[in-house]
Structure formats: structure tokens, C-alpha cells
Subunit: 267 residues, 2 copies
């Protein structure tokens, strides 16, 4: 069932509310068209299959088209989709035949980051990921909420680490660190959210012949003599260089432009 | 703001829905009185403080009293409270002055388990716990949902293990294993939910001079020659012995009765 975010309400027995039993997507709409549409649709469909929430691709596409018509704007905006397993079930156990809800809402674009680069912090809140949920954009997002809540003023993003202090991801961005001619990014299997922009960037870097290695990022790498800089990406803001992590100033090398260049992302 | 579960609705921008940004309690009401009331209230207040969701003890008590009057029944029932951070904020970052929602709903008692004992399974879904959230009854409950969903028919509970296969807790129960004269129960710091009945049982066993040791439970302990049985507890059903874990039959020794005895829990 499709619920509109502008004034719509949901019953208090919805399982998205009760248990975070669902998924979401946050999609930039540019010139009336969802950016990276197929990647967003595919992640939501894959997540629904993993959680065993029935969702037909054709129903999802129809809902997105309805939302694009309903919320039509001439400037860029953000379409948020929330998919829940719907109402009911006995405690945690879902009903055998769930009736999912899809909630579609429209939001203004966030303030875009300074193209010259941003300042970020390392979070004390670690990203919590377990095998089957890794990478899925589920509604279980308390670690990201608490890491965001703790961000100092002026900080653009909080980077969450694994249990041994290696950087995994921002609360709402994925990481690409450039060391010499290599790009490093933490592996999807260890991420709380495997971003669609991360996937797009990896595909484009591969096309351009720039090698990407998937590995967690020890913070010491940022002080490596060949470190050329760190880039944050997500599908709403695109990409931005990091000038500073905590008190550590980072280089913003021209070599980062293969990701941060506007044409690269928006072409 | 108090929302009633019988017909009430919440806006689609509630953060409990968006991120599981909140907590819940499930309370048995017996003879018009919430069982283990103070333990439930204290866990919710402690969790709210940890998540920085403003909640006054006096407001919570008043809401519970209103719910008891509204939903009054002569037979036992279950009062469910959901506390969310309320609407709004910019993405994950909460507003500086959240306006929380408290949702109160009434539910029938679940079917009580066979007092002769139940059959349970070991879940492939591990409990996901990180330091600051350990034990708190947050709305991030997808591991419990998926473990429940995967339970075979006839199985009363799914026991979730840590990453090295030691038993931690059921999806909705805590564990007490009796080895000789000792009771063993996994430590609160490693639990997804630290049950109020678990705390009550521990306090009563201490009063009776029966020692309880907090440690994870390797499954091999169930085959130890001194194993006298395994007990599941929660605040709605009380306690029940486990007759079988997967294909392994367990003893149900008379010594379990210090927990499973009705008078012990309900006096």
C-alpha cells in the first residue's frame, strides 16, 4: 500500500515502527528524473528479498512514477522511500502474508558541502553490521543517529570505525582514500550501508582504468607519505574532499578529481 | 505526546519509523497492576537517557496510569509502550529539542507455553549488540525479527548466539542454565535485551543463596554430565523449561523449580 508523506499517517502497529522492520532509499531527483534510479531500485528490491518483504519491481516503479508526478519540482529535490513489512504479526514473528507499506515523501536538497573540502570527525560509535544485513539500507539506524547526534558543530560528517578502529564509512557517506595511484574503499561486506554512489564510482573508476582495492582503512593510512586525500560520496550530494579529520589535515590532491569532478558524477 | 494504539496513527516523519530511533517495553498487567512495574519503568528511563530522548519519570508514570484506566480488563493483558524521538531533524541528526512520542497499546496475553517444557532451536541469526546499546530494548530489532521468521513450526523460541557460537539469548527470552548447584546466564553487557525478568530472577536467586554466574553459554555445556536443564524467562510468560534444543534432549531437573515455580515468579 502506498502512503504519501505529505500529511499521510501510518497505524501504530506498523512493523517499521515496532522493530525497524523495513528498508529505505533516499534519491536525488534532478530534472524530473531520479539519479542512479536503477541502482536505487535494485538495492531496495535486493533488501526486500533478503528480509522476505514482498515487493514487485513493477509496483515499485509505478510508485516512483506516481511520486515523481505528485511532487514535481523544477529544482533538484530528494525522494525518500520507506518500505515496511506492514502491520501485524505475533510479536517478532511476521505474518505469513505481509501487506507491506511503501511511504513516499519529498524533501528539499540539503545544503551542499563546500567544494573546497569539509572537516569531519572520527566517531566513538562503531558501525554495527552483521553478515546478512551488511550493506542493506534497513530501518535499524540507531548507530548512525547517535554518531550524528555526537558530531561537533562545524563537522560535516562522522566517520564510523570497526571494533579495531579502522575506518568503514560515514553516517551517510562511503569513503574512498587515495594512496599513490590506488583507490582504497572498505569492502561492501563490512559496511552498514553499501551506497549506490559508491557502486557507481567503483564502476566508473574501473572504466577509467583506476584500480580500486576493497579493504578497511586504518587511520594511519591518512598519514602515509603517498596519501593524496580522502573523498566522501553519496547519491544526494555526489562527492566531496575531506580537508581535515579531527585535528589531522589531509592533502586535497588534484588526483581526487577523478571522483570529485562534477562531470564524472553527473554526466 | 501520548498516542493511543487503538486507532491512533503517527505521522510518516516519526523517527521511530525512519531509523528505529526509540525504545519499547512489553508489560504484563495482572489484576490491574503492571508486573515488575518499577523495573520496566527504570529500563525505559535508562534507555531514554542513553539515547538522549527526553522523558520525565512523572510523565511516564502518568501515561501508564492513563493506559491502565483506558484499557482496563479483568483478565491478564499486555501493555506495550513505544517511545520515539518524535518527528523531524535533518537526516540522522536529531533536533536539539525533540518532542518525543509515547505510544500505548493493549494486547491479549500470548498462548502460555506448555509447563512441561518447550522445544527450541539454535538460530543462524546472531544477536547484534554494540557496547552502548547492549541490553536496551531499542526499536532496532531486525535480527530478532529474522530469527523468529526462520523458526521451524512447533519451535517455541530461537536461541541467538555470539560470533563464536555461544548462546546469548532467545529472541524474546533470557537464558538460565543449571550446572550442578550453579546457575549460569550470559552477561548483560553482551545481550541485545537485558530482560527485567532476568534481573528479577537474579535478585531472587541471590536472596535464596543460589549462586548465579554471568558468562556466555557454549552449547557443549548442555551436554555436560552435571547439566540439570535450561530455563527461558521473560516478563510476560514468566519462566519455562526447555526440553529440547534442536535434536538435543535436555534434562528437566526438579532443581529448575527455583525459577520455574509459579510462586517464585508471581508472589
Amino acid at each position: 500500500m502506498l502512503v504519501w508523506g505529505d500529511g499521510g499517517q501510518i497505524p501504530t502497529d506498523d512493523r517499521g515502527l515496532a522493530y525497524g522492520d523495513g528498508l529505505f532509499e533516499t534519491i536525488r531527483v534532478s530534472r524530473h528524473s531520479p539519479t542512479l534510479r536503477q541502482r536505487h531500485m535494485q538495492r531496495l528490491l535486493t533488501g526486500a528479498a533478503c528480509l522476505k518483504i514482498p515487493l514487485m519491481a513493477s509496483d515499485l516503479e509505478a510508485a516512483v512514477n506516481s511520486a515523481l508526478a505528485r511532487y514535481r519540482r523544477d529544482t533538484d529535490w530528494v525522494l525518500k522511500l520507506i518500505l515496511t513489512r506492514g502491520s501485524g504479526g505475533r510479536g517478532y514473528t511476521p505474518t505469513a502474508t505481509p501487506a507491506p507499506r511503501l511511504i513516499a515523501s519529498a524533501h528539499d536538497m540539503p545544503t551542499l558541502p563546500d567544494p573546497a573540502g569539509v572537516s569531519v570527525c572520527l566517531s566513538d560509535w562503531s558501525a554495527q553490521v552483521s553478515g546478512p544485513f551488511a550493506g542493506l539500507k534497513t530501518l535499524n539506524r540507531l548507530p548512525q543517529v547517535m554518531a550524528s547526534e555526537a558530531m561537533p558543530a562545524g563537522c560535516y560528517e562522522a566517520i564510523m570505525c570497526d571494533e579495531v578502529g579502522r575506518m568503514l564509512e560515514g553516517t551517510r557517506t562511503n569513503l574512498f582514500l587515495r594512496i599513490g595511484e590506488r583507490w582504497l574503499t572498505p569492502p561492501a561486506s563490512q559496511l552498514a550501508v553499501s551506497g549506490v554512489m559508491r557502486a557507481e564510482v567503483m564502476a566508473r573508476l574501473a572504466q577509467q582504468g583506476e584500480p580500486v582495492f576493497e579493504q578497511p582503512l586504518p587511520t594511519a593510512l591518512m598519514e602515509h607519505e603517498d596519501c593524496r586525500g580522502l573523498v566522501l560520496v553519496n547519491s544526494v550530494v555526489g562527492a566531496v574532499s575531506v580537508r581535515q579529520v579531527g585535528t589531522l589535515r589531509l592533502p586535497v590532491d588534484a588526483g581526487l578529481a577523478t571522483i570529485t569532478g562534477h562531470a564524472f558524477l553527473m554526466e
